[in-house]
Each structure stands twice: as structure tokens, then as C-alpha cells.
């Protein structure tokens, strides 16, 4: 197995071990906890927090991906081209707003809990997915598009058979970027009572327990890395399925 594969597997195993048997790691974290305080977060199991953390990310990024992709498809159609500046502005606006500000603004409207975080992650995820889908769709060469029209594909057939398959690897890359950002941002959601690993960090800060802060922080970082690697593998698989060279290779001579 290649070194990268070994590292991935080691990361996954270590993270799983920490989530399932945190007590094993207690001796290492003990020096960070104040005397007579718990070393491992004990108000909820770390594994259930990690799962709800991931569920939060998925629940925000999947609709974000659907909307951003739909927008990218719309603005690359002849009839929708005039909506490109508007769509750019819209998803750009979502990105400019700091998630913390979205949380603060959303709480008075939808209350504490999961919703403010979902909204923040959803908005924050739009831009990378939209821009990547746009790059993927507009990256289909003019000759290929002309050929698709010239062969007698309807606009829908051209989209499904040619444009989307060719844009797919870049679209997945966009989802990958958004998902990784969302994993780290979701931790902040715990300030408004979303269930995530952020809860552990916040409890640690409140109780002056550095051990909590470190385990919450490390686990969040590990989740982000795992999501990054996993979606990277999905993108790679999509590229392979297309049979495209990893780098655009020049045509062999003759």
C-alpha cells in the first residue's frame, strides 16, 4: 500500500479508537486537566457527538450542493445566462457573512438549537460548490459542445450525457471544500446549542479544562481530515470512471 494510504488508515483507526474507547487516551490527557476534574468529556459520549457533528454537516451541505449545482446549471443554459451575475452575488454574499454573524442573527428568528447552525453552514457552503460546478460546466470544450448539438442531442441530453459527467469531478471537489469548511465551522454551532464536538471545546473553556479543549479540537480536526480524504477519493473515482488523464495530456503525435 502506498504511504498516503497507510496514513489515511492510521488516521481513521486512531480517530475511531479515540471515539469508541476514550478511556485508553486518558493517561495522555491527564496532565492537561485540572486536579479532581474529569479528563474525558462525560456529559455525552464522544462518538454520539461526532456522529451528530457529521449529520449536521451532511444536513447542511447536501441541500447546499443541490442548490448551488442547480444554480450553476441554470446560469450555464442559454436562457439563464443573464442570471449569472445575480447568482454570483447571491452565493458570494453567503460566503462573506461570517458564520458567527449568521448564528447571532439566526437565533432571534429560529431560536437556539440545530437550525441556526444549519443555516450558517448551508449559506457558507454555497460558494465553493457553485464556483466549482460553474468551472466544470464552462470547462467543457467548445468543440465537444458543438459536436453534442451537431449530433442532435436535445439540451437535456447534452447536459446529462456530456456536460454533467465531464463536470462531475470538479463539482465533487467543490463539495469537498465546502464540507471540510463546514466540519470546522459546525463546532462553533455549539455556542447556540447545536449538538457537535464544539460542545466539548466550550465545556472545556467554561470549566478551564484544557483536556476537554484539546480532545474536542483534535477530534474536530480529525473529522475534517477524514472528510477531506474521503471526498478526495470520491473525486478520484469520478475522474477514473471518466477515463480522463489526471492532468490534461497532449494528444500523441501522428
Amino acid at each position: 500500500m502506498r504511504p498516503a494510504g497507510v496514513l489515511r488508515l492510521a488516521l481513521l483507526a486512531l480517530t475511531a479508537a479515540f471515539l469508541l474507547f476514550p478511556a485508553l487516551f486518558a493517561p495522555m490527557l491527564r496532565p492537561l486537566a485540572p486536579p479532581n476534574m474529569p479528563v474525558i468529556y462525560d456529559r455525552a459520549s464522544l462518538s454520539s457527538l461526532a456522529l451528530s457533528h457529521l449529520a449536521l454537516v451532511a444536513a447542511a451541505i447536501i441541500p447546499s450542493a443541490l442548490l448551488a449545482s442547480a444554480l450553476a446549471i441554470l446560469v450555464t443554459r442559454p436562457a439563464g445566462a443573464e442570471f449569472l451575475p445575480l447568482s454570483r452575488a447571491l452565493v458570494g454574499f453567503g460566503q462573506t457573512f461570517p458564520p458567527v454573524a449568521v448564528l447571532a442573527l439566526a437565533v432571534p428568528v429560529v431560536g437556539f438549537g440545530t437550525w441556526p447552525t444549519l443555516i450558517a453552514l448551508f449559506l457558507y457552503g454555497l460558494l465553493p460548490i457553485f464556483e466549482n460546478a460553474l468551472a466544470g460546466l464552462t470547462g467543457v470544450s467548445g468543440a465537444v459542445r458543438l459536436a453534442a448539438d451537431g449530433m442532435g442531442m436535445t439540451p437535456g441530453q447534452k447536459l446529462r450525457r456530456v456536460e454533467l459527467p465531464l463536470a462531475l469531478p470538479l463539482m465533487i471537489e467543490g463539495v469537498r471544500i465546502s464540507a471540510v469548511i463546514a466540519v470546522s465551522t459546525a463546532a462553533i454551532g455549539s455556542t447556540v446549542a447545536a449538538r457537535s464536538l464544539g460542545e466539548v471545546i466550550i465545556a472545556g473553556l467554561n470549566a478551564n479544562n484544557l483536556s476537554f479543549v484539546v480532545q474536542g479540537g483534535l477530534l474536530t480536526a480529525a473529522l475534517a481530515l477524514i472528510v477531506y480524504e474521503a471526498l478526495g477519493m470520491v473525486a478520484e473515482a469520478a475522474r477514473n470512471r471518466l477515463g480522463l488523464p489526471a492532468e490534461p495530456a497532449s494528444r500523441p503525435a501522428g
Partner: protein, 315 residues
């Protein structure tokens, strides 16, 4: 039969194609020649409605193309473009199967048709079929592009600079293949090119375009012998006219009975080739071979030169 009836295409008030009327006979190969920006590609794309005429009509066998939905029309018309436009995520075989798939042919029939076409175009179905376009050479990709255009047996084939990206050796082969396949299938072909030599070599008739208008529409020999405008003459290259004309006529036409020394001229040689051979080997008389490879007569230098004058041309 393709008829352009007073066809114009305006872009921002400027005419890319300006009131063109042309009638192309069924089963012929018409070469449309012009410099870039002459409107030749636009004219071609109005046949399969990739470009809609601003005014005028295009008729195929008497039926107005505007009355057929574009996708349906295009599936009946073969289309080959310069950069091949092969779908990079599909194998060569799947690319060739594009239009039959759109038409909903049964799978077995598509497979058989793809094999048949690959053999006609001298592509090994088992070796080349599964390859992706980026794994093909330029010549192979070009032939796959032609096979894709011919897959659903169109009676009409549109070619937009189909050989532009090929090197000269492969281009010559591809041109010969096109001529052979076109004769074999009786397809009507419209070929757009900026290369007058290609037009002369391939065209039954040549339409010369400039600034959206047809400057001359005639058989190659007539274009060479009597260019209608200075632009047509320019495109021909004045200095080469005699050789271009001589390259069109077979040397057999002027063969006389008799015998001569030295290596024989092959059966299909043109006047230009006969003259070149005389200059190269310093001979005045060449024996010429018949289709069976045996000498059938003699070609004399003064006869060759006389036949190269326009008034002695075939038309």
C-alpha cells in the same frame, strides 16, 4: 439535393452570409472555399440549424429545414468538425454509437454498425474501439469523428475543416479515404475548407466564398481555367494554375500508340505527375501503364504541355 434560397445571416447588422443561393446535387461533394471570416462555416451550420438564417430558406430534398425540429434534423445529417469534438469521457466505439443511441436503435444493431464502420475506416474494432479519445492518434481521432458522423447512415454529410488538424501525410490519406467512402456510399457531402488544393482535389464542384457572398460556383477545372474574380484567382495562386489544372487530368487521356524507354508511368498518373517525371529523369517520352500494369502507349512532353492550357481543359 440541397437548396439555399437567398439565405442571409446577420450578426449585429453585419452580414456573415449575404443572400446566398446555391443548389447542390445529390451524391456530389461540394467544397466551400474561403478565407477565415468568409462565412463558409456559418453557411454550413445553417444546413443543420446550428445557425438559424436571418432570412431565406434551406431546403433538403425539397423540404424546408425550418419545418423539422433541430435535434431531429441533425440526427439525419452527419457532422464532422475540425477538432473532432469527440466526447472525451466515452470510448471510440461509444462515440461512434452516439446518433444510433439517440435514435434508439437496438443494442445489437448499434454494436454491429459500429464494427462495420470501424472496418470501413480501417480502425481495428477490438484494439481501437475501447480506447478513449485522448488515447487515439490525430488520424485515428479524425476517422472516429467521420465514423460517428456516418453512423446513422445519413444521406448528407457536413464537414467543417475536417482535415485541418492533421499533418500533410495523414491528411492526404484522410482525403483519399473520404473520396472512397463518399463514392462507395453515395453520400452528399458539403466540405468547408480554406485550402484551395484540398477543394480541387476533393470537390465535384467548388463554391468560393468571400465576405458572405459566393464569388464563383463551378467544377474545379472551370475554376482553374476561368476564375470569375480576382479573388478566386488569388486563392488559386496565379503561378500554380497550370499545374493545378494538369493535376486534375489523367495522363492516359493524351497517350499515343508507341513505345518508349525507361520506367513506366503508373496507370492513374496525372499530367502534372507525367511532366514532373520527365523533368526529373530528363526524358521527352514516357511509357504509360494501363490498369493491368502493362504498357498501353506513350506520353509526349509537348502533348502534356499543350493539354495544360486552359482552352484544352476538359470543360
Amino acid at each position: 439535393m440541397i437548396e439555399f434560397q437567398s439565405v442571409s445571416k446577420l450578426y449585429d447588422g453585419l452580414a456573415a452570409v449575404d443572400d446566398v443561393s446555391l443548389t447542390l446535387e445529390r451524391g456530389t461533394l461540394t467544397a466551400v472555399v474561403g478565407t477565415s471570416g468568409s462565412g463558409k462555416s456559418t453557411l454550413l451550420r445553417m444546413v443543420n440549424r446550428l445557425v438559424e438564417p436571418t432570412s431565406g430558406r434551406v431546403l433538403i430534398d425539397g423540404a424546408d429545414t425550418a419545418s423539422v425540429p433541430p435535434a431531429q434534423l441533425r440526427r439525419r445529417i452527419g457532422y464532422v468538425i475540425q477538432d473532432t469534438g469527440l466526447f472525451p469521457h466515452w470510448s471510440a466505439a461509444r462515440n461512434i454509437a452516439t446518433v444510433p443511441e439517440l435514435l434508439g436503435w437496438p443494442k445489437a444493431q448499434i454494436r454491429a454498425r459500429v464494427r462495420e464502420l470501424m472496418e470501413v475506416l480501417q480502425l481495428d474494432p477490438d484494439a481501437i474501439g475501447p480506447r478513449r479519445p485522448h488515447e487515439l492518434s490525430g488520424g485515428q481521432a479524425q476517422r472516429v469523428g467521420v465514423a460517428r458522423a456516418l453512423a446513422a447512415r445519413p444521406a448528407l454529410l457536413l464537414m467543417d475543416e475536417p482535415f485541418g488538424a492533421l499533418d500533410p501525410v495523414i491528411r492526404g490519406q484522410a482525403q483519399a479515404d473520404l473520396r472512397r467512402v463518399q463514392r462507395q456510399l453515395g453520400t452528399t457531402v458539403i466540405l468547408v475548407t480554406h485550402d484551395m488544393a484540398e477543394a480541387i482535389r476533393l470537390g465535384d464542384r467548388i463554391a468560393v466564398m468571400r465576405e458572405g457572398r459566393i464569388e464563383q460556383f463551378a467544377a474545379p477545372a472551370e475554376i482553374i481555367a476561368a476564375p470569375a474574380t480576382p479573388f478566386v484567382a488569388d486563392l488559386l495562386g496565379e503561378g500554380d494554375r497550370a499545374f493545378r489544372l494538369m493535376s486534375l487530368r489523367p495522363a492516359r487521356e493524351i497517350a499515343e500508340p508507341g513505345a518508349a524507354e525507361g520506367p513506366m508511368l503508373p496507370a492513374g498518373s496525372s499530367l502534372a505527375e507525367a511532366l514532373a517525371e520527365m523533368i526529373w529523369t530528363g526524358r521527352d517520352r514516357l511509357p504509360i501503364a494501363g490498369p493491368d500494369g502493362r504498357a498501353v502507349g506513350v506520353v509526349r512532353r509537348d502533348a502534356v504541355i499543350r493539354a495544360g492550357r486552359p482552352e484544352a481543359g476538359p470543360e
